[in-house]
């Protein structure tokens, strides 16, 4: 058995786990393209400035937030306006813990603590909803209201009374001075800034994406998709749908939380705008436009839309939100499945009938001449 065929066998086995009916992109061509783009993405910081790389990293960490909604909504059918709740909780917690502890080790510890808090909050909220048999539009409503509660609450935390340890929550003014991500102790550590931060975020994004692909194409994924399609039917097949939904929702919380930590470290700052209605809906915008059933679409849409919004605000245009609003409206009304699934469907249809769109040849020269 030659080495190359051995490698191919391993690749095939890996691909078998990553592929399935629940994800778009199951061909060798797809993975080749994916690898190329990924290589380019990794090489990116080598030909732009550290500032640029850091800036792009913001879009990527938003992509992680989008993925958290993609798995919860696109795959399990749970529309949550609350991903930013976990995002914000983790970001604020990271700030509080890392500033209070001060040292590099403190920063290192702050990361898992923040993610854990986000996970616990997601678990509690999920338990409250799903084990109370709340479903459908009311989940969306409750998550939206919870976000509003947090926005209202955090906005009035100005003043010295609202301090955890040595860190003031800051109300509208926010919490500045959040350190960069670092792992290690004072003696030996890695601090994530600029290009290095970019690589960290990109890696997290890729690992999450691949991990979710495995999850979604496995047994748990089938249960999730079934619940999205018809949850009562799935219950009649013996599944405890509350538990499945809680598990997915908690996972989404963990991912959103990690994204929040990255965000707080990225800008060294966090404020209650992360709980604003506008930001709470951005994940919904990203996932809707990119395609609810496509994780890749969610990420691509996030990066595109956020880059676009940034470009518009740089040029001073006020039209950013109008365009975003109209884009979202257009997608819901005209391309409800989202762009990537739409494109994929068109490509698949075209591939299976290549003569589509090509006009019939005229029967005789006379007919052709008459046209």
């Amino acid at each position: 058995m030659s080495a190359t065929s051995g490698v191919f066998r391993v690749v095939d086995r890996i691909r078998a786990r990553l592929e399935g009916p629940n994800t778009i992109g199951n061909s060798r061509g797809f993975w080749l393209g994916f690898a190329l783009v990924l290589a380019g993405a990794f090489a990116y910081p080598t030909f732009v400035s550290a500032y640029q790389a850091g800036n792009t990293a913001l879009f990527l960490l938003y992509g992680l937030l989008a993925l958290s909604l993609s798995v919860v909504w696109g795959y399990a059918g749970i529309l949550s306006f609350g991903q930013v709740v976990f995002f914000g909780f983790a970001g604020y917690t990271f700030g509080i813990v890392s500033i209070n502890l001060g040292s590099t080790l403190g920063v290192t510890l702050a990361i898992p603590v923040a993610v854990l808090i986000a996970t616990v909050v997601a678990f509690l909220l999920g338990y409250f909803m799903f084990y109370g048999d709340v479903s459908g539009v009311f989940v969306a409503i409750i998550t939206l209201v919870v976000t509003l509660v947090l926005q209202t609450f955090m906005a009035q935390t100005a003043g010295d009374a609202w301090t955890v340890g040595s860190v003031a929550l800051g109300g509208f003014n926010g919490m500045p001075g959040i350190p960069n991500l670092a792992v290690g102790t004072e003696a030996t550590s890695v601090t994530f800034r600029g290009g290095v931060f970019y690589w960290l975020v990109l890696s997290a994004l890729v690992v999450s994406y691949l991990g979710l692909r495995v999850l979604v194409n496995g047994r748990f994924g089938y249960a999730m998709v079934g619940i999205r399609e018809d949850e009562d039917r799935v219950e009649m097949l013996g599944y405890d749908i509350r538990r499945v939904k809680l598990a997915v929702f908690t996972l989404g919380g963990t991912m959103a939380g990690f994204s929040g930590v990255l965000y707080a470290a990225w800008g060294n700052y966090i404020d209650p705008s992360v709980y604003s209605l506008t930001f709470a809906t951005m994940p919904v915008v990203w996932v809707t436009v990119g395609g609810r059933t496509s994780m890749l679409g969610a990420v691509l849409a996030t990066v595109s839309i956020e880059w676009f919004r940034q470009q518009l605000s740089i040029t001073g245009s006020e039209y950013a939100m109008v365009i975003v609003g109209l884009l979202l409206l257009g997608v819901v009304l005209l391309v409800p499945e989202g762009f990537v699934p739409f494109v994929h469907r068109k490509v698949t249809e075209f591939r299976s009938d290549p003569t589509e769109g090509i006009p019939d040849a005229p029967e005789s020269p006379g007919e052709g001449a008459a046209e």
Binding site: V134, F138, I141, I142, V145, L148, V324
Partner: protein
């Protein structure tokens, strides 16, 4: 220290705000299962219409009428172009109308700038001891009740109202009985828009008229509608009462932020523990009493 009169006035203020903000949204949701998250922007349109008319020299009542008219027209246009595709799609309607709201807010900012010259608040204040409260805002409670009564009369005493209720209960049967559901929806949406415009028009003199003003209405309206339950009028009234009390009490004791948070938390509790909403509870009690009496 809870000041009794102040608490009462604050309750009336909250009640009025919630009911006037919510009634349009409730009617639309009750009829078409559309959650119009652009409702705040509709209210904003009403406020803008009123303010601009007033600033052009018209007296306040005329300006209010103008605000209502403008919003009704805007609502009709949007219904015919966008909203009618979203009927019976509550989740999609949330996303799409939210998008619409974003666009409308920004459009207002682009067209009219960051704020308009506001109308001063009329009618002065009620003074009691060393306290005072805006008379106008308290009187709006009367308007809110008048609107509820008027809606009740329309729903129960007019032919339109009967057909509307039939369509709410069972659109297919209503259609089979000859009700033109498409037109019913359009008219209902127009009414809902008019009521939104009314809320904006009435409150325009009391607040700063800025493009983002709709969101504070939206929150209260939205929460009232979802906790109200299936019965449109009863639900809105009960929600106004319950949430208004919570808000007034907590604001009185701890300030507006706590009042707002308390209101939201109570709403979440109602959503979780009373799946049929506040009106659903009342109807269950009524049914049970009827059964026991039978």
């Amino acid at each position: 220290m809870v000041n009794g009169i102040n608490l009462l006035l604050q309750f009336l203020d909250s009640f009025a705000f919630i009911v006037l903000a919510a009634i349009g949204l409730a009617i639309i949701f009750g009829m078409m299962d559309v959650i119009n998250l652009a409702h705040g922007e509709f209210i904003m349109i009403g406020a803008y219409g009123t303010t601009m008319t007033y600033n052009a020299g018209a007296p306040l009542p005329v300006a209010i009428a103008a605000g209502v008219a403008v919003t009704t027209v805007a609502g009709l246009v949007l219904e015919r172009t966008i909203i009618h595709r979203l009927y019976d799609r509550p989740l999609d309607s949330m996303v799409a109308t939210w998008a619409l709201g974003l666009a409308l807010t920004q459009a207002a900012r682009i067209l009219f700038g960051n704020s308009l010259n506001s109308i001063g608040i009329p009618l002065g204040a009620i003074s009691y001891g060393q306290f005072s409260y805006s008379l106008y805002r308290v009187l709006l409670a009367g308007v809110a009740i008048a609107v509820l009564v008027a809606a009740y009369l329309v729903f129960t005493r007019t032919e339109f109202g009967v057909r509307a209720r039939a369509t709410i209960q069972d659109p297919e049967t209503a259609a089979a009985m000859g009700v033109e559901t498409g037109r019913m929806y359009t008219i209902t949406f127009a009414i809902g828009s008019a009521l939104a415009g009314l809320a904006g028009a009435l409150y325009a003199p009391t607040m700063s008229v800025v493009p983002g003003m709709g969101s504070s209405f939206l929150v209260e309206a939205f929460v009232a509608v979802v906790t109200g339950g299936t019965s449109v009028l009863l639900g809105t009234t009960l929600a106004g009462g319950v949430l208004g009390s919570v808000d007034a009490l907590l604001s009185n004791l701890y300030g507006t932020f706590v009042g707002q948070i308390g209101l939201l938390i109570v709403a979440v509790a109602i959503l979780r523990f009373l799946p049929t909403g506040l009106s659903g509870v009342v109807e269950t009690v009524r049914e049970r009493r009827e059964r026991d009496a039978a």
